[in-house]
Symmetry: C2
Subunit: 185 residues, 2 copies
Amino acid sequence: MTFENDKKTFLMKVDKSKKGEIDDRVISLMKTINALPDFYTTSSCSGRVYLWQGTGKKNETEWIKVSHDLIDDDFFRLSGDTNKGVVWLRMEGFIMHIACRDVVKANQLLEKVRRVYKKSGFLGVSNKIILEIRGSEFMEMPWLLDGGKLFSGEVQWLVGLLNSKLKKVWGDMKQLEKVIQLEEI
Amino acid sequence: MTFENDKKTFLMKVDKSKKGEIDDRVISLMKTINALPDFYTTSSCSGRVYLWQGTGKKNETEWIKVSHDLIDDDFFRLSGDTNKGVVWLRMEGFIMHIACRDVVKANQLLEKVRRVYKKSGFLGVSNKIILEIRGSEFMEMPWLLDGGKLFSGEVQWLVGLLNSKLKKVWGDMKQLEKVIQLEEI
């Protein structure tokens, strides 16, 4: 299959993410990238905050609550069974995977992306060349142990901290969009 | 310069890390990789726990305390000025950068590495091909706010949690060494 066919096929696929729909906040950036002839996006997440329990492995992990938007104190009001073991609080930044036509084009895009996201790189360069953009915003802390809270600060303060990180994530995404639009790739 | 010259020059260089010396725990794995004709390691860290304050940007961040070994309660006994703003507790897993002779060899190594470290990829594929191995163990939590502790659990329990993560990191490194020794690349 040619790159054009791959791109067409892929962009027609149904979204298979946990969220089940594409994040509103990423649509503009996605369109900007998919308008370029040598690239197409294959997945993305524009940041999220969630509470989870389990081992961290894919089939042994339960998401208790998740927000892709700013949170408030309510986020930490839990119902349901969280009385056993550790409940973790995690905040993840922006992540996006982009299929690239060839290595030359891939490197050109990476160079631009690095101006905003230093940790970006390639997932592989053999069959498909996939560029991974990865933000550096991240938090991971034990929140409950056997139902007891492990955080003794003000929840309001933590909510503000998490929200400021989310805003940083969205600001960086806007910046990337500008960088990509600035010059031709 | 040929790959051989690059490799020779690089491996003779003085260690420029924050720690100032190569981690004992990584030496065996490093030797295994550097014995292969098509690869050489350029940097690595075999996991660490540290307390830091600042913005998180390179020149605006102060490391208050760091351990590359198992920790005990003493790790959290702080002297010095930590009474302003947030002091963060961070645990990082294994990371290693490996220069590869060419894309074919790089992909062969990546395929092996992925059996242990799913998040691995390439930092770039233009001038130098650098494979980044990255463990998934990570923690980042606010520890102090204006000198007041934000963690209300037992420090002993947290010490155990961090140490079990460090042990997981070292176990995975051993596993990678075995995977690499198993078949020729």
